[in-house]
Amino acid sequence: MTDTVAQAAVADAKAAPDTMAWDSGLRRLMMIYLPLGCFVLILLFPFYWMAITSFKPNAELMNYKEHNPFWISSPTLAHIKHLLFNTAYPHWLWTTMLVAIGSTTLSLIASTLAAYAIERLRFRGSPYVGLGIYLAYLVPPSILFIPLATVVVQFGLFDSPLALILVYPTFLVPFCTWLLIGYFKSIPYELEECALVDGATRLQILRRITLPLAVPGLISAGIFSFTLSWNEFIYALAFIQSGANKTVPVAILTELVTGDVYQWGALMAGSLLGSLPVAIFYSLFVDYYVSSLTGAVKE
């Protein structure tokens, strides 16, 4: 499959000199725009379907013969109203927001300090500490959730959002530290040396020179942490039992899926509302996100 792709990707460069303009235009259309259009269509269709289902009245949802399923003839806010007023959805949103902000703050503080120590306060063995923290990222939550559940019970944190705030840094800190080490590397060391010569203490250097310069890195680490903790599922499923304390992804799946007849309208409305905060947050900082994703891979 990739064979044809490769040809497609470089075809236009080759085709330009020796074919006529309309031919290369057509070729470009077939080789680039058509597949690209298919990709975008398939990647976005589930969201379109989610959105359109949330605003469809039940009669239209279950009747494809008389209503075109790809469009809404009489949009309704009934599902969203049901969600907001008949379920604990606003509370779930609030809990999720609290957990996401709490764990993001905690991991940003921990990983900024760690990255600064590893990258700037060079000491014997600092590369190994960095490697150790990086390896922690390779331990998937699926292996950890059972023993972690017993740890959480031991600490008396079972069924408390605080457990999630404390546990999420296990996958946030490695990633953020890794990202910030890369970012600190790009800040010239001379700036810190100047400050040292002028008699600044190390903490002053961190607060007044390194951190202000690392703001873009901190922002992208923050976005990553926020989206990752918003999306986290398995720990929230295993450690939270009471309906009120659940996070949005868990609550929709365990509290809204009831009985044999699924309320698809409400389910999709819940998914849409639960996706919106991360989507909005992401769209505000999309450039930071993409550049740090690609930057992290280049490391």
């Binding site: 990647l43 007044r208 949005v248 998914s271």
Partner: protein, 318 residues
């Protein structure tokens, strides 16, 4: 400018305050800086990892401290057909989904590497499947795979007239398995594409120009320039992708919960079902621990298998 303001500020604070001096003492500062991160990771990652291995050798259940039972849990798993099913499906799921993600993701990356209008907007919206909570998009897939009101069935039956009956996506084992794999590929494409696009953009155009002057065909340019240059990034992205696909939990738990007839259990969902839902913590931990050898093998294979070619490439170039 910041340096000058700092120096005046620093002079004011020059009084010998023991706290300030303590925090300027490098070993102390290093310990203080590393303490939060190392502390969190030790308590909530390293300790549970060890505890998990220990639990796998006990018969702990929820509410009862277990005793050491040696390899009993693992011996039981070897005779358990559900565990073998989960191993089989985990391997199939990881294999097909990784192949699909990388083939399609590489294609998408090559397409995005061209110049066209609204490129950055397109790059941003393509990442959406990766940003949105997996469980929520999985719910959308569950609705898309509905036996009665599936939009795909509607398209094939009522619009295109290719089939006469609805597809039963999640009702029988193999269709359910492939439906889950398709959803996983859908979710994984954006990450692979954007990561590989970053790699593609680091390849110097002069390499292609030189190859073109030498008369290399499009395929040769891909085979001997693009592909080898992408190897290091492919190795890293693939290692991550394999680890997180093999230990996937959310998609399966949200869409099928291991059904129909336990045919779509991955090791992670089986561990959850036995360990948390069923209360057999020891056995659940044993299932989770049984993932580790697969992960180590997959990591070594994808990392060293792909990275070694990079070294060979490097040596022949030098």
């Amino acid at each position: 400018m910041s340096v000058t303001t700092l120096s005046s500020h620093a002079l004011v604070q020059r009084q010998p305050n023991w706290l300030v001096r303590l925090f300027d003492y490098k070993p102390f500062l290093i310990v203080m800086c590393l303490a939060p991160a190392i502390g969190l990771l030790t308590v909530f990652l390293t300790y549970p990892l060890g505890l998990g291995v220990w639990l796998a050798f006990t018969d702990t259940t929820i509410g009862r401290r277990g005793i050491y039972v040696g390899l009993e849990n693992f011996q039981y798993l070897l005779t358990d057909s559900l565990w073998w099913n989960a191993v089989f499906y985990s391997v199939v799921y990881t294999g097909i989904a990784t192949f699909g993600k990388f083939a399609l993701g590489f294609w998408l990356a090559l397409l995005l590497n061209n110049h066209f209008p609204f490129k950055s907007v397109l790059r941003a919206i393509i990442l959406l499947p990766w940003i949105v909570p997996t469980v929520l998009s999985a719910l959308a897939f569950w609705w898309i795979y509905d036996p009665q009101f599936s939009i795909i069935s509607y398209l094939l039956v009522d619009v295109l007239h290719w089939r006469s009956d609805n597809i039963d996506f999640l009702g029988s084992p193999w269709p359910a398995r492939f439906s889950l794999i398709a959803a996983n590929i859908w979710r994984g494409i954006p990450f692979v594409a954007i990561s590989l696009l970053a790699g593609l953009q680091t390849i110097s155009p002069s390499l292609y120009e030189a190859a073109m002057l030498d008369g290399a065909s499009a395929w040769q340019r891909f085979r001997y320039i693009t592909f080898p240059m992408m190897m290091p990034i492919l190795a890293i992205v693939m290692t991550f992708s394999i680890i997180f696909t093999f230990t996937d939990f959310q998609l399966v738990y949200a869409i099928t919960r291991g059904g129909p007839g336990n045919s779509t259990h991955l090791l992670a969902t089986l561990a959850f079902q036995r360990g948390i839902a069923g209360g057999e913590l020891g056995e659940g931990a044993a299932i989770a621990v049984s993932m580790i050898p697969f992960l180590v093998f997959a990591t070594l294979f994808s990392y060293f298998g792909l990275a070694r070619r990079k070294w060979q490439q490097g040596e022949s170039n030098d």
